[in-house]
Symmetry: C3
Subunit: 258 residues, 3 copies
């Protein structure tokens, strides 16, 4: 049973997500459709990219991920089908797949040009419905990626947030803030041996060690390895982003012991 | 596999939608349940009606649409099962099906009176759970519409928003505002040949032509045919309803060339 | 077909719910996953407990309910599998199952200790993904409860909100406020024979009788038996919690006729 996930900035009030499902099920009644997330802020490509990066690997092989965060719909930006070793990604060529490309350098990218798999008439404002959803259904029914369009060698690989590794320091930035207000950085756990950490430095706070859980520190900011495998800054029972007044792009320096 | 869609104003915090699904699956474990939208503003019948109108045609024949925007639950308003040529609609008789009636003049309307298909005891405050969900399940299992109650000839057809066609002008109103702040009118694309448009006039703005995409105009309001097939007013990267301060009922005049 | 419901405070923007589904489907592609509710306020155990209590009985036997409102994730609080006569509940031992225990005194509680059913590596911050979701999948595939860990006799039964029954009075409190602003109490319908009610007394209002529907009273607060089977206070077309300024814990006295 083919799994098709949906990741959008469509919210839950306008019926856009329901329409995607209708289009898919009309073509493949046996598709198993899973909502990945739909409350991405309108047009927030970086947030959508991060949510996708944090989620896709938990789905089984052959899963088809449909990503519609698409402020440029109807312009010259291209619709894509990207194949990694195990999964498919359908998305506009706007950088929302940047983490997928980084983790899968051998990904094969095809521009969706074969209009026989699109809805007709094709709107200029809702390619989720008219291109991505029907193409996902056809993929799930066995249409090969090569049949969907033409191979693309030049595409938008996005710009990964800055991560600098020096002798005794790793410097990264806050790249995502979750619903709980946790500040998630781009410093991966592999760089962080708890016993080697001297201190973590934020613009207005210094943290001396890694915590194990969100309730590990009574007051003040704590640092821990979050579920995405990245260093994150949190507050016990409060929203760290609001109380600490840090946001996307805030710099974090991890100082290591000599 | 029968598809049952759910369209409600229940939101995602109280478990109401989950309960609808439990009731359906307890009766028909093989039903395929699809969320159409659940963040309709509480009691906003017009918004629910529009979302349904924009969505239902994308679902395959025999789909059962359950619409629970029902501020009059427990009063004398009747619960209905409406059959069009290809689909079913279960909803209260409060006008939420107005676009369905307009597009399907031969729709057959039945009042749900056969209590053997209801949950018992029947509450006065949650007919979604006690009437619409179990009836949807029974319909999906093959119970014919005629077995659900008695035919109804007088019912609430609703009042479609005003649309006037004059010699060189079409006048409509904003009928829906989506999550992105786009102002959607009731002027359908069939009335709008791009080359025949002289100008579009809003209370405080005049627009000279139709755009092709949401990024087609740098600044200021643009007009385009939206994905629903209606004229809509939008702003590039901003919420048109907030910036332009227009809302439901705002008049739009399309002046045509002689 | 095994039904697995998900009740969380994860919202719909971070992909956490999508990840739970990916983990489940990777283990059991045939699981039928149902969203119970995901917009519980972050860490609001009492609200999650009430939503679960109001929902679970509508699901068929053998349903597996996964409840992840888990502010203490990664601390010493234990992950549990609870079996009632007909259903399973997977949740942290933080009181979120209090209504389940009260309604099912013979529930069998097992601490999840058998790590072969967990994801590996096990994070300290997302046991929904690493423990509850994979255990739910294994349960749905036939793993017996006894294989998941060790029986637990001491666990957090929670504290049910106060309900006092005197000669001519029943006193309870507001325990939940739904999306529509209705104030739901812990006074069950079995205590309330409409003809025996003298009056209902709130801190700043007195109500003389029970209403039948939310539109039964033009102005001012009304009392009615809500869909959960509890006394609730509502306003016609308005949010009672905002207008009346009552909240969780507000006392209600029902005075009975002699």
């Amino acid at each position: 049973m083919a799994i098709i996930t949906l990741l959008t900035d469509f919210g839950a009030r306008d019926g856009f997500v329901g329409v995607l499902k209708g289009v898919i099920l009309a073509l493949n009644p046996h598709a198993q459709i899973v909502d990945l997330a739909h409350e991405i802020s309108p047009g927030d490509i970086a947030a959508g990219a991060f949510v996708l990066a944090a989620s896709y690997a938990y789905f089984p092989p052959e899963t088809i991920h449909v990503v519609v965060i698409d402020p440029g719909v109807g312009t010259t930006r291209k619709p894509l089908c990207v194949r990694t070793k195990t999964q498919f990604f359908l998305a506009p060529d706007n950088g929302v797949l940047q983490w997928i490309y980084a983790a899968n350098p051998d990904a094969v990218v095809v521009e969706l040009t074969n209009a026989q798999y699109f809805l007709s008439p094709l709107s200029n404002t809702f390619h989720g419905r008219d291109i991505f959803a029907p193409v996902a259904a056809h993929l799930s029914l066995g249409t090969p990626q090569t049949g969907l369009g033409k191979p693309l060698l030049e595409f938008n690989r996005g710009v990964l947030p800055p991560l600098r590794q020096q002798k005794n320091m790793i410097s990264g930035v806050i790249i995502y803030i979750d619903r709980f207000g946790n500040l998630i950085s781009n410093i991966a756990s592999q760089y962080l041996q708890p016993k080697n950490i001297e201190k973590l430095v934020l613009p207005r706070h210094t943290i001396s060690r890694l915590s194990c859980s969100y309730q590990n520190v009574e007051n003040g900011p704590m640092a821990l390895i979050g579920s995405h495998g990245f260093l994150e800054i949190a507050l016990n029972g409060k929203k760290a982003n609001e109380v600490l007044e840090y946001g996307i792009g805030t710099e974090i320096d991890v100082c290591l012991k000599e």
